[in-house]
Symmetry: C2
Subunit: 352 residues, 2 copies
């Protein structure tokens, strides 16, 4: 022990090439097996030129430096959060990303429609691809402007109100209308409404209709319904929309074979605030939170890999993967990159 300590001091805290190779080997092995990895394993599977004793010395140094730790005295070593951090950082700067672009695209390009749907199918595709929990966040947009309002006739007495905003947010709702309004009448109303309301924010539309409804007695009903819907949309788009998918993938990993841990994990996913707390603020590139960086006790041995995508109006959304800290970061980052690009494409299109 004294020797190990002195070695580390002698050598400083510089991690040389061989140490790095060994560390990466430990991480790699642990990511796949979830079992503490011993010196012999590394010597046999990764660094065949070196004996287990040599590896042992190096591993001892790595432990001294804080990259490895032992669950108990005589088990193999497990990578620390610091090790994952190093690993991820090298990945991010390097660019040794697994390219699975094709299978990713294929996975969710056949289902496209409204933004909400896109968000959800992206989450589900992402979770199926990674076998981890996927999160897609569509941030709140307070400044959405209405670009079109239209009433589409349904059966007598009811119509479908469609509202389109410049952010590409589309919402529709069935409302009651006077029975003697035919298709043309509804279209006429739609044109008037659109011309008066286009360019205003949802909030303004809600307010304007309160005034407008005084003039046109017969259409009060319609105006009321639109006002309701606008305020509802304002509320919805003014709130962060989060889609979570594959949350129970966590059960596939042995670190969560304890049901209580699994439940704690799952309950975080259900709590919007907690979820938001560790999703990064709009930021370019990849963000990787490891262990304590997540800021939640329940997530202390988890990691989250996130990236951003662009939606209309200069806003950016966040898409990410959550799983045990032991994660194949390279693969995940590769997949996320593609998904992020795909989302930017889809959202951009809807928004344009």
């Amino acid at each position: 022990m004294a020797d190990g300590r002195s070695r580390a001091v002698q050598k400083g805290h510089e991690i040389d090439d061989r140490k790095l190779r060994i560390l990466l080997a430990v991480i790699d092995d642990y990511v796949h097996t979830a079992v503490p990895v011993g010196s012999r394993t590394i010597s046999r599977k990764y660094e065949t030129a070196l004996s287990s004793a040599t590896i042992r010395n190096e591993m001892s140094d790595l432990e001294e430096m804080g990259y490895l730790e032992q669950p108990h005295v005589s088990a193999g070593r497990v990578p620390t959060m610091k090790a994952y951090r190093l690993y991820v950082d090298s990945l991010l700067s390097g660019g040794t990303r697994a390219a699975e672009a094709d299978s990713v695209r294929e996975f969710f390009f056949d289902r496209v429609s409204q933004m909400q749907d896109v968000v959800e199918s992206a989450a589900s595709a992402l979770s199926e691809l990674t076998r981890y929990t996927a999160v897609v966040l569509m941030p709140k947009q307070l400044d959405l402007k209405v670009s079109c309002l239209q009433l589409v006739p349904m059966n007598r007495g009811s119509a479908l109100l469609v509202v389109i905003t410049d952010g590409g947010v589309i919402r529709n709702q069935v409302i009651r209308v006077s029975e003697n309004l035919d298709s043309d009448a509804l279209y006429a109303i739609s044109k008037v409404l659109t011309s008066r309301l286009a360019g205003r924010t949802l909030q303004q539309v809600t307010e304007a209709l309160a005034i407008y409804s005084r003039y046109s007695g017969a259409d009060q009903e319609v105006c009321g319904a639109i006002a309701d819907m606008a305020s509802q949309m304002a509320r919805q788009t003014g709130t962060d929309t989060i889609a979570v998918s594959g949350s129970h993938n966590i059960l596939n990993y042995p670190e969560y074979s304890d049901v209580d841990k699994a439940r704690a994990f799952l309950s975080v996913l259900e709590t919007k605030d907690k979820l938001l707390s560790f999703l990064p603020e709009e930021r370019e590139g990849f963000t990787v939170r490891i262990g304590p960086e997540m800021g939640l006790r329940e997530m202390a041995d988890c990691a989250a890999v996130c990236t951003s995508y662009r939606i209309g109006g200069g806003h950016t959304g966040t898409v990410g993967v959550i799983g045990p800290a032991r994660m194949p970061y390279g693969r995940i980052i590769g997949i996320l990159e593609t998904v992020g690009e795909a989302l930017t494409g889809l959202m951009g299109e809807a928004a344009r």
Copy 2:
């Protein structure tokens, strides 16, 4: 043992009032504790007038009759599937239902829009209310007829295509259109399309457009998009739509503290075919499948309580709750009843 057997034979298999009370007490206790219940528990908590020895005799008879069983010789008793069956049947005929109508309605009447959304929010409301897994099934509808097609202008070069069918199914999608089509032009096209296609089934629309697109050269693009969408809708409405919510509520129950069991359960929920296999065919009233009645090995100790709701066009959907056989059936049935009625209301409205 010989005595117990002879008693049962002597008395025939009639279950008298006291036996029934004891049986219900056992079920009740087990539902809440998930621990085999012993004679002393019943004697203390439920039938204070009787001693544990008496209860023991009765329980022995009940075991003989197949209503109770012992996990092992010297544990308490656990209700059998037959007991749950009896319990449920008496509930269904009697009508001792927990009335929680208000809280149920309150729960999801503020989010209404398209049928898909309704189905999903119903599922999520139901699972939150019951703390079990909720399933809402919207059965396939092969004969939906288009009642209205409308193009709503978005930014230049794109429009929102809205399709409404008589079943109240609404779908919309952004499509590309020629840049020189303004709002009026789009409306004119919509009118023509509606007049020609209204009343046809989705399948027919898909086919018709293949022919129609030959005539109007300029609008080929639009027709193609509509044809695509119609066939997509035909595919979607021609498939059973299932919303599952609260699947990991199962982790709250000790019978699933074994992760492998939990995973097996969850994987059934992800397999549409298996899920459909135990959801009842359209049938009035409540259907309760208990244990082996589920027909799946993975679900052998589960139960499903289902009821039906009406959607447009004489079709009915199914809504249900899945959980361990040990379930507070009274409460569940009460909640389901209200949710079913609410769904009928919402779907009916959308459909009318």
